[in-house]
Assembly symmetry: C2
Homo-oligomer: 137 residues x 2
């Protein structure tokens, strides 16, 4: 269906939330989930992925939470997608060749791979900074 995962949307919303509500401020998952309207548990998983990628930074313990890990000019939508969904692969042979029974005789991979790179370029072209400008402006 060529659809973006829900977790990615959770992550994207979370990052823009962090970016708008105080740049250095530490925000709990609970606050974000309540404000945005998402499931706290699931958003928590998304935040953990973002943290591992350095997009968010975490503070543990009471008064803990998350804040941005990078300047919003340096985080692209592609980064968030990578952090949450892992390396993109439009076709199953991108995961592993033997996942496709016709791998050795397929003549379409080249095209599909360039297509993928173009899509990736689109995602890379948008930083969170420019996304916010687009939303507000």
């Amino acid at each position: 269906m060529l659809q973006v995962s829900r977790k990615f949307e959770y992550g994207l919303h979370a990052v823009t939330y962090l970016a708008t509500k105080g740049l250095g401020r530490v925000v709990t998952v609970k606050e974000m989930a309540d404000e945005i309207g998402f499931s706290q548990e699931f958003l928590s998983k998304a935040m953990q992925s973002l943290k591992r990628a350095g997009i968010a930074a975490s503070v543990q313990g009471v008064k803990g939470g998350y804040r941005l890990g990078k300047a919003i000019e340096e985080v692209t939508v592609a980064d968030i997608a990578l952090a949450i969904e892992g390396k993109p692969h439009l076709v199953r042979c991108g995961v592993k060749a033997d996942r496709c029974e016709i791998f050795s005789s397929c003549h379409h991979r080249g095209y599909i791979n360039t297509l993928q790179h173009k899509i990736q370029a689109l995602l890379t072209a948008t930083t969170i900074h420019s996304l916010l400008k687009e939303i507000e402006g």
Copy 2:
């Protein structure tokens, strides 16, 4: 995971198969499935979708099968995707607004929709004709 459906790949392979093996020739699903290396039953479903969209034409009865329904200069990858997967929607609110609990407060739709249009433009930019030239050349 942003992955293309298997049925779409079946369809794409089938169309290029029809295009290379004789333009007017009527080819059975069995032949295509055997040659390409796909499941006959499932490929059959893909062909039915392509037929409904006019991309393939069918001949029923003994000696029946499929042939191309349009000139390969007039069929784009986007057409095949549309025929097989239906209207694209990168996010669930594209199917129906109430599929997302935060629809009314979401500020990301605009961006995601332009992203979708750009991806769609990429698919529309490749006709089967140009795809074949790319493969052969």
